[in-house]
């Protein structure tokens, strides 16, 4: 796909000679000459301009009528005037019109002080109004949703929110009702606007018509400070700005980064900041005394932890959750490997993957970037659900399809929200990713019989062939366009594809597919993994793997992976467990094994922000964790961008920096990492990971940088990228009357969602997603209560019928506090009325 044109156009604006990218809209291009043209409805992120507000009218030589600068692409030699009497009259006219219905209640309006309407009125307005009739009135404010309040009197009908809903998020919920001066923004039938990205309309609104319910009346612009950091609630790692007042986070706003988030946020990222300030936060170190966790001094907690760990020695293991920073991950593996002599560290939850496969899957030459999703010829979404796994990428994929004609292929077990945008869709049985990749490999030119392999995956051979056709056929379009080489194909896959006993085989099959359709080393195409945890990629690179050290270095004999740690602990073979930002009962599969493991381990040392079930019942020492607004350090984006977290607020109560806690503990165990400050931890990390060599925090700045694009990336371990000879894949289980169990984690399955008062209403409850055919067979209807399970382990759920669910499959959520799918170990389950 053509990327934005780098050519420039020379034009004149108000007599100034200005150069700007050719084809850029005048409203933006004028800024290159420091000329500001006021706009309301224009927002390039929303797509093509609509020219509705008429605020940006300018005079262009040779055109008799005034033109809207938002919709006029700049051309060489254009002569533009923005200050003439005609323009001035038009600007004053539009502002006078806009203000006749605006209540001018700025002193009590949340937007007051940061309001484009206010600013533009001061800058370009007539100063007084001649309008003496009554203004239009609405009941106000109304709850557009539990998160957003709408004040229709303040609305200037710029349509930004409606366009966002219809053309960016594509949830089609916001509409305009009535006509002319009676028009107002609404939802169909007045239903609440609840959608994963609804909060963006608050930021888009150029007046105070759409306000955040949790932020309403909390602060004025002169009370607050903005503090840039990165959201660590999911692997998308959106750049955010915390609005801080008196050491409290009051709001989260997007910090537009085209390489990461494109300026949008999901509602979890926008509203879950509330969990930073809830009473449930662990505020002091805790030690279990007589069965109860009691607050103690740091010295005592550290001493107890050190004593327990040195007693356990190599019979200890550590697991890091996704929100762990690179520095913390590096320090933890130092502590365990250096201080305890154990190799049992892991940050992946789905089994061990050979080191060379890690190296092959993430090789810089094969790495796709986030913007590639927007400009590729074709994108394959494989075994992941972007809106749940990395929500903001869902918007990016939609953008590519809508604006650049990207061909989208979706291959998942569970129906995807992107299905409707896809040119080809294939479904396979849950857990049959290996067989599916093998089938796809056969279909794009590899070995094997497509029909057999597709059957093994529980997929339709025709779907696999259509998908393959799309991936290989995209190249024809490219060669017709005159460029050389293969088409730009991006494969977005979920980490779960490489999970489980057959994970490494699935990874090899995926690499084979990539070998056929992706041109390695060619910018614009490649693989993009959505890790299961926020910093999944960074933790692996920092050495949090049982079979690889920092920088994916070769180490001695491999330690136990997460699953094996659980099994060993349950068997009584491990005496100390170190849990950094992870509660096995909530976050890990095989909940029953872990319950036993936590019970049998002599000591369970945890870092946690909140005491979830497993820690509440079993932890022996708990160190309070920093929230993401307090953290300092770096994390690595799935596409290799190292990003810097900067503390927005002070740590509350007794909370200490976690690099400090880990370094202190390491020191007490006789392995002093020699770190006295956060930046020192980062420097040590950059030293320890060869392909991070030379990175400095200054260089990372506010935008981060992609290490695969730096020269040091040559230090990435070389690995065989295939093609591999594939074993015959594992067959998907045959339901035989029972149902295949598929597991997924929804965007809302997070402690932060449950604990944020504003988001609580969205917290995930277990529901069994069934196909209508299975429901009919089982005599179940939408909304019925059922139990799902096998061999004595069962969870309760509410039936949710989805027409896209393949027959013979039921999907359950994991990562939730109650009735999580991780309670069930088998792949086939029975569903029966409760």
């Amino acid at each position: 796909m053509p990327r934005p044109n780098p050519e420039t156009a020379a034009f004149s604006v108000d007599g100034l000679e200005v150069n700007a990218p050719a084809g850029m809209m005048l409203a933006d291009a004028a800024k290159f000459g420091d000329v500001e043209i006021p706009v309301f409805c224009y927002e390039p992120k929303l797509g093509p301009p609509v020219g509705a507000c008429r605020m940006c009218l300018v005079e262009i030589e040779g055109i008799p009528k005034l033109q809207t600068a938002c919709s006029t692409p700049v051309k060489d030699g254009m002569v533009v005037f923005t200050q003439t009497d005609r323009v001035k009259q038009a600007q004053e006219a539009v502002l006078e019109f806009l203000l006749i219905n605006h209540p001018l209640d700025c002193p009590v309006c949340d937007a007051g002080g940061e309001c484009p309407l206010q600013d533009i009125t001061f800058g370009w307005g007539p100063g007084r109004s001649r309008f003496i009739e009554p203004k239009r009135h609405f009941v106000k404010p109304l709850a557009l949703s539990p998160l957003i309040a709408i004040d229709r009197e303040r609305c200037i009908l710029c349509y930004r929110c409606v366009r966002f809903s219809q053309e960016v998020a594509e949830d089609y919920q916001l509409i305009l009702e009535e006509r002319g001066a009676d028009t107002f923004v609404s939802t169909f039938d007045g239903h609440p606007y609840v959608a994963p990205f609804s909060g963006n309309i608050i930021e888009l609104c150029p007046v105070g018509a759409l306000t955040s319910q949790p932020y309403r009346f909390r602060a004025r612009p002169w009370d607050i400070e903005g503090s840039g950091s990165v959201c660590t609630l999911c692997p998308a790692q959106c750049n955010v700005e915390f609005t801080v007042r008196d050491e409290r986070v009051l709001r989260v706003m997007a910090r537009d980064h085209h390489g990461v988030d494109d300026g949008w946020l999901c509602d979890k990222g926008r509203f879950a900041y509330q969990s930073v300030h809830v009473d449930q936060r662990v505020s002091h170190p805790l030690v279990r005394v007589d069965g109860e966790l009691v607050p103690v001094s740091w010295d005592r907690a550290l001493d107890e932890a050190a004593a327990a760990l040195s007693a356990a020695g190599s019979d200890s293991a550590a697991i890091a959750g996704g929100e762990t920073t690179n520095e913390e991950g590096w320090l933890l593996q130092e502590l365990v490997r250096g201080g305890l002599g154990s190799a049992n560290v892991d940050s992946r939850f789905g089994g061990m993957l050979p080191r060379e496969l890690h190296a092959a899957l993430h090789a810089p030459a094969l790495q796709a970037t986030v913007p590639d999703l927007e400009f590729a010829h074709a994108v394959l979404v494989l075994d992941c659900e972007p809106v749940d796994d990395a929500p903001i990428l869902d918007l990016r994929i939609r953008k590519g399809v809508r604006r650049n004609g990207v061909k989208l292929a979706v291959a998942t077990s569970r129906p995807s929200s992107l299905d409707a945008n896809a040119a080809a869709v294939a479904r396979f049985a849950p857990g049959a990713a290996e067989a599916f990749c093998a089938a796809l490999n056969a279909a794009v030119g590899g070995h094997g019989v497509v029909a057999e392999l597709a059957a093994a995956a529980g997929a339709q051979a025709a779907d696999v062939l259509a998908l393959a056709q799309l991936l290989t056929g995209a190249g024809d379009a490219r060669s017709a366009g005159g460029s050389q080489g293969r088409a730009d194909i991006v494969i977005v896959y979920g980490e779960r594809l490489t999970h489980g006993a057959r994970g490494e085989h699935a990874a090899r099959a995926l690499l084979n597919v990539a070998g056929h359709v992706v041109s390695a080393g060619h910018d614009g195409s490649g693989l993009l993994e959505l890790p299961a945890g926020t910093n999944g990629r960074g933790l692996r690179e920092a050495g949090m793997l049982p079979n690889a050290g920092p920088g994916l270095a070769e180490i001695g004999p491999a330690g136990l992976d997460t699953g094996a740690i659980g099994a060993a602990a349950a068997a009584g073979a491990l005496s100390a467990l170190y849990l950094l930002h992870v509660d096995p009962l909530r976050d890990l599969p095989s909940r029953r094994t872990w319950r036993t493991a936590l019970q049998r381990a002599d000591s369970v040392i945890a870092h946690a922000e909140f005491l979830s079930e497993g820690l509440w019942e079993h932890a022996t020492v708990v160190f309070p964790s920093e929230s993401y607004a307090e953290k300092e350090g770096t994390i690595t984006h799935p596409d290799g961008r190292v990003q810097r977290l900067r503390p927005a607020i002070a740590r509350p109560d007794a909370v200490r920096a976690e690099w400090n806690v880990l370094a202190d503990l390491s020191r007490r165990l006789g392995h002093d990492p020699g770190i006295l400050s956060g930046p020192m931890a980062s420097a040590k990390l950059f030293e320890a990971v060869p392909f991070y060599a030379g990175i400095t925090l200054d260089e990372l700045g506010g935008r981060g940088l992609r290490w695969p694009a730096r020269p040091a990336s040559a230090a990435w371990p070389a690995a065989d990228g295939g093609p591999f000879g594939l074993e015959s894949p594992q067959q998907a289980p045959t339901p035989n009357g029972s149902l295949r169990l598929g597991r997924f984690r929804s965007i809302w399955a997070a402690a932060e969602v449950e604990l944020s008062p504003a988001l609580k209403f969205l917290r995930a409850h277990q529901r069994a997603e069934l196909s209508p055919a299975d429901a009919r067979r089982l005599g179940l209807a939408h909304g019925d209560r059922v139990t799902v399970g096998s061999n004595g382990s069962r969870v309760s759920a509410t039936v949710a019928l989805r027409s896209g669910v393949p027959e013979g499959t039921v999907f359950l959520e994991q990562g939730i506090a109650q009735d999580s799918a991780s309670e069930l170990d088998d792949d086939l389950v029975e569903v029966s009325p409760a």
């Binding site: 008429r54 009528k65 539009v94 019109f97 806009l98 006749i100 009739e133 006509r179 002319g180 001066a181």
Partner: protein, 441 residues
């Protein structure tokens, strides 16, 4: 009258709406001639030579419009704009009702010239009877093989779909019509891109008025050069004008462009009733600036009316005589445009509402002459600043009325004030109950 009649000739013949009667008068012969004997380019050449200008309102040369359609091999569309909503305009209604096949034949010829294989008629929802008649004609034409694959043995195929609008004036604006046809809210689009490049479903689209398309078979019959001889140099041909208002014989009249307006209003339509005089008249639908009795001798063609600072528009002449107050005409008009404004762009949405409020105050005697200045200035703030021409459609006639009848507006305010018991020179109001908030004072 000696005007040549082309479109209305024989139109009252019973049964003309059926294909047999229409064909007995040579119907579809011109479509056959175009498809079998002519190339799209030669058809287009005839249209260009005829000097035909669009009959819907803007008066853009029709041949030129078709020539803008790219030649590339993509899906192209022809849309017939039958959303005749301009107050005072009812020519398309009669034409479609009485001779629907002439429209279908025109669409075939226009689509052939444009290279469009898909065509639509967008008819306003209120024209239910006309829509039924076209529907029936469409069935006949399809059965007779004039619509469909390989029409009359040629390589040309055309589909034609009749779409009924839901009753919005803005859907007569060509881009609003396209959005509505696509199933969206009928709001005008930003131009460029123009429909000729990106219209219906983003494909090249030519949009023509009913009367324009119906003229095309006649142009082929007469030859473009011959047709161009009728009318004036820049306004060729005949035009069906709808005369309404205070005239004795309202109705549709086909005139040769360039005859004097007086001849239409007095000669054809009989002028105002006995003893009354023309006060002012709209020459081209309610959105054209008004002309007064001094302008009755202006030749009725595109350029002469433009020179008189008005426009030919849709060719709907509304005559207002001296018994009608100008304020009530202005208010009625402003209310119509306020109601029909789509609300997308600011000047039209807010300006129409404001104008109505001000006119209501004028009507009730609650205004001052200064309000007339504000009203005139508001009209100027609308004109030229909007996304489409709906705002201008109100601002131009209201502006012209205020300018030309300022004295009457002022007198109306005075009279209304005097007649208003709470405002006039009569005893000031002393009833405390009627003054809000003053009870018991």
């Amino acid at each position: 009258m000696s005007s040549p009649t082309i479109l209305l000739a024989g139109i009252d013949e019973p049964g003309l709406n059926t294909i047999d009667v229409y064909r007995s008068h040579g119907g579809y012969d011109m479509a056959r001639k175009a498809l079998t004997e002519m190339t799209p380019q030669t058809v287009l050449d005839e249209l260009l030579a005829s000097g035909l200008r669009g009959r819907g309102g803007a008066g853009f040369p029709s041949g030129k419009k078709i020539s803008f359609i790219p030649k590339a091999n993509v899906d192209k569309y022809l849309v017939c704009n039958a959303d005749e909503s301009e107050p005072g305009t009812f020519k398309d209604r009669e034409l479609m009702q009485k001779s629907p096949h002439m429209l279908i034949e025109g669409i075939i010829i226009g689509a052939y010239a444009a290279g469009a294989n898909r065509s639509f008629i967008y008819i306003r929802g209120e024209y239910a009877e006309q829509a039924d008649i076209i529907d029936a004609a469409l069935v006949e034409a399809t059965e007779a093989g004039f619509i469909g694959q390989n029409i009359m043995g040629s390589a040309f195929s055309l589909s034609l779909v009749l779409h009924r609008g839901a009753g919005a004036y803005i859907c007569g604006e060509e881009t609003g019509l396209l959005d509505s046809l696509e199933g969206k809210r009928g709001n005008p689009r930003l131009k460029p891109p123009f429909p000729a490049n990106q219209g219906l479903y983003q494909g090249p689209t030519v949009i023509n008025n009913v009367e324009t398309l119906m003229t095309m078979p006649h142009i082929l019959r007469m030859g473009g050069a011959e047709y161009a001889k009728i009318g004036t140099e820049t306004s060729a041909g005949t035009k069906v004008v709808s005369v309404s208002g205070n005239v004795q014989r309202p109705g549709n009249y086909e005139i040769e462009l360039g005859i004097s307006s007086r001849e239409i209003i007095y000669g054809l339509a009989g002028g105002p009733p006995e003893g009354r005089e023309v006060k002012f008249w709209f020459p081209g639908g309610s959105s054209s600036p008004v002309l007064t009795k001094d302008d009755l001798d202006v030749p009725y063609d595109f350029d002469s009316l433009a020179k008189a600072k008005s426009m030919l528009g849709s060719g709907a002449i509304i005559v207002v005589d001296d018994t009608v107050p100008v304020v009530s005409v202005a208010l009625k008009l402003a209310k119509f445009y306020k109601h029909e404004s789509c609300g997308k762009c600011t000047p039209c949405r807010e300006g129409t509402r404001w104008t109505v409020s001000m006119l209501e105050r004028v009507d009730q005697g609650l205004a001052t002459p200064m309000d007339l200045d504000i009203m005139a200035s508001v009209q100027e703030q609308i004109i030229g600043n909007c996304l489409c021409v709906l705002g201008d459609a109100m601002a131009m006639p209201i502006g012209s009325m205020v300018a030309k009848f300022r004295d009457e507006f002022e007198a109306h305010i005075e009279a209304a004030r005097a007649a208003n018991p709470w405002l006039g020179d009569a005893e000031p109001d002393t009833d405390p109950v009627l003054i809000q908030g003053a009870a018991g004072a």
